[in-house]
């Protein structure tokens, strides 16, 4: 007879404890706050789902959510095709490969708040290099501190600058794993450059592209530091994305109940959209 022992559980315990302390316990406090009202003094009053209802109905939340989706949609729309194009045009062999790879990795190595500060200084209308150049040399009226459109363009360009490399590096990894024989066979089969992309390169990049889109979605949907440092959510509320709004409610107004409810809704949306993305993008493989 086969004997079983339960020793294995002991090895899982440390991880369980770790996860409990850094995820489950804080998460449960958030859940706790989200259904109660407090006026301090450790006095709590039961609220039920009231905060959730209030958040979901509020114009402020809906506007921030709309901005958030628009932001994520725009950066995905730019970064994914751009990343593929850059990856396709990078050399596959020789001296320039490491040079390109290092150049690509550089933006990602810069801390987020430094990126925000860099772009802030760079784009300030009077003193920033880009701001000065656009206004005083090209004569374009550009001021990201005053004009919502300028602010949006700056936030998007900054994210593209910071994160397209991630898509590039992942796609490049997919591309270099394609054996030469595929290109040779395509040549012999008389395939056009578009067919080579469509039937060889794109399918081989699919797995890494799925990961790239997922990572970029989650990161951009939860983005906080860079736009906060760059525009502080302004002018007005025009670049106040979900996380910026959340911090305002939680730490600015100290409305812990609504902030907790909003966090949970935020988390649920991120999770749901990621799941939908993943299911859609891997649907073909299951067949």
């Amino acid at each position: 007879m086969r004997t079983e022992n339960q020793k294995a559980w002991f090895f899982v315990l440390p991880v369980l404890a770790l996860v409990a302390f850094n995820a489950l316990v804080p998460m449960m406090t958030v859940v706790n706050y989200s259904v109660q009202e407090t006026f301090g003094n450790n006095q709590f009053f039961w609220e039920g789902l009231g905060w959730f209802e209030q958040i979901l109905r509020s114009d402020r939340f809906q506007a921030a959510l709309g901005r958030q989706f628009l932001f994520t949609f725009l950066i995905l729309l730019i970064e994914v095709p751009l990343g593929i194009i850059v990856a396709l045009s990078m050399p596959r062999k020789g001296f320039w490969v490491p040079v390109c790879l290092v150049l690509m990795a550089l933006p990602m190595l810069i801390p987020w708040n430094v990126v925000g500060s860099m772009w802030n200084i760079f784009t300030l209308p009077k003193i920033g290099l880009m701001g000065y150049f656009l206004n005083d040399v090209l004569g374009i009226n550009y001021d990201m501190t005053q004009q919502p459109l300028s602010a949006w363009i700056t936030v998007i360009v900054m994210d593209v600058w910071h994160w397209t490399s991630l898509v590039v590096l992942l796609c490049y990894a997919g591309l270099v794993s394609i054996p030469d024989a595929y290109y040779q066979a395509a040549k012999i089969d008389g395939a056009s450059p578009w067919s080579v992309f469509r039937y060889i390169q794109l399918p081989k990049m699919k797995t890494v592209l799925t990961i790239a889109v997922l990572l970029r979605f989650m990161d951009s949907f939860n983005i906080y530091t860079e736009p906060f440092v760059l525009t502080g959510g302004g002018p007005g509320n025009s670049t106040t994305l979900l996380s910026i709004d959340l911090v305002k409610i939680a730490l600015g107004q100290f409305d812990l109940g609504p902030a907790a409810a909003m966090s949970l809704i935020y988390f649920a949306i991120t999770l749901l959209v990621s799941w939908v993305f993943y299911t859609l993008m891997t649907k073909d493989d299951a067949e």
Partner: protein, 357 residues
């Protein structure tokens, strides 16, 4: 379909080759008849894949010409040569179905849909993949994938030649045999010139009407499988083909005799030339045992199923003999007899005896 002629072909991967050692291919001159089945056989790095890529147009040779039916195609790109190539690892367009894969080369050339359908059905039937036509190609087993990549080559009826670059490398041993006979059958049906590159002698010898043996960028012998076995022109051929390979024994040559470890051996005919390193070449199959002959000490006997391989020492030289019965004991002293018409002298590797007619 076409006759393929390689004339004074040389290739170097270096921009300015100096000596012959800089060439991956040295001086190749061969003509392959229309509809023949040929094999390029040689060890890894002997230049056979280079040669194949030159024929298909993936590489342009440094010197020399490639002629398809006397038309110079040396500088033409692959798609204008009407060549099909099957690679070591099956190349499949993952997102397409089997049928779409087979149709791809025709579609790219703008063939009308009705013809495409007819050709695809024909080829699918030939390859026994008709029932897979509408399944996704990515889920197929390696041998079926390799069949599809073959099919993509055969689907065009204007193909001048089909080339195989070690196509059975990734196939399971028990399927190799099946796929090989499929290939042979296809060759008989399609009648295209086929060139098969391999380092596996069994594959080469079973597939080809004529085998081109290459070593270090050089063609050492072109011949039918029987010719390669019976009368190797070079010790390399003798050693590379056959299992175990030909015995190559240092000797001295005198007229139609060779002296090996102090024993006289009768050769197939008179030797020519002089100087250089002289070796006596005899296949283990033609070394017999008798009551008289060259005394030898048996060191090892291996039973390899159909026959025994006997390793023995004559003086300080090791050699092998193959026998089906009368197996000597390891450690015993025996007498070896070399079959005269299969005993030859090689000078610097090349054959140096004349066949007695």
């Amino acid at each position: 379909m076409a006759q393929i002629k390689l004339s004074n072909l040389r290739h170097s991967y270096m921009p300015a080759p100096k000596g012959p050692e800089d060439y991956a291919l040295k001086e190749i001159d061969v003509t392959w008849r229309d509809g023949g089945a040929y094999a390029l056989l040689g060890p890894s790095g002997c230049g056979k894949s280079t040669l194949l890529n030159i024929i298909s147009g993936l590489l342009t040779p440094s010197e020399g010409q490639i002629l398809f039916d006397d038309r110079d195609v040396t500088t033409l790109p692959p798609d204008q040569r009407n060549i099909a190539q099957v690679f070591q690892f099956p190349v499949i367009y993952d997102t397409m179905t089997v049928g779409e894969n087979l149709a791809f080369p025709l579609k790219n050339r703008g063939v009308d849909p009705a013809t495409i359908k007819r050709r695809v059905d024909e080829i699918a039937e030939m390859l026994d993949v008709t029932d897979m036509l509408s399944t996704r190609a990515s889920g197929l087993s390696p041998d079926n994938k390799q069949k599809i990549s073959m099919g993509r080559g055969l689907v065009r009826d204007d193909v001048n030649a089909v080339m195989f670059d070690e196509p059975l490398t990734v196939i399971d041993p028990h399927l190799k045999w099946k796929l090989r006979s499929k290939l042979k059958e296809l060759h008989q049906r399609v009648k295209a010139t086929m060139i098969y590159v391999t380092h596996d002698q069994t594959e080469a010898l079973t597939f080809a009407d004529e085998v081109v043996v290459m070593q270090e960028g050089e063609v050492v012998q072109i011949g039918t499988p029987v010719e390669l076995f019976e009368r190797p022109q070079h010790t390399f051929v003798g050693h590379f083909i056959g299992s175990p390979g030909m015995n190559v024994l240092p000797c001295e040559a005198k007229g139609d005799r060779a002296v090996f470890e102090g024993h006289e051996v009768v050769l197939e005919g008179p030797t020519h030339g002089d100087g250089g390193r002289t070796d006596l070449g005899i296949r283990p199959e033609y070394v017999g045992f008798g009551d008289t002959g060259i005394p030898a000490h048996v060191t090892k006997v291996s039973d390899i199923g159909r026959h025994y391989v006997v390793s023995a020492m004559v003086g300080n030289t090791a050699l092998k003999a193959v026998t089906e019965h009368s197996v000597p004991e390891p450690g015993s002293e025996v007498f070896l007899q070399f079959k005269p018409e299969q005993s030859r002298v090689y000078r610097d590797g090349w054959i140096a005896t004349e066949e007695r007619s």
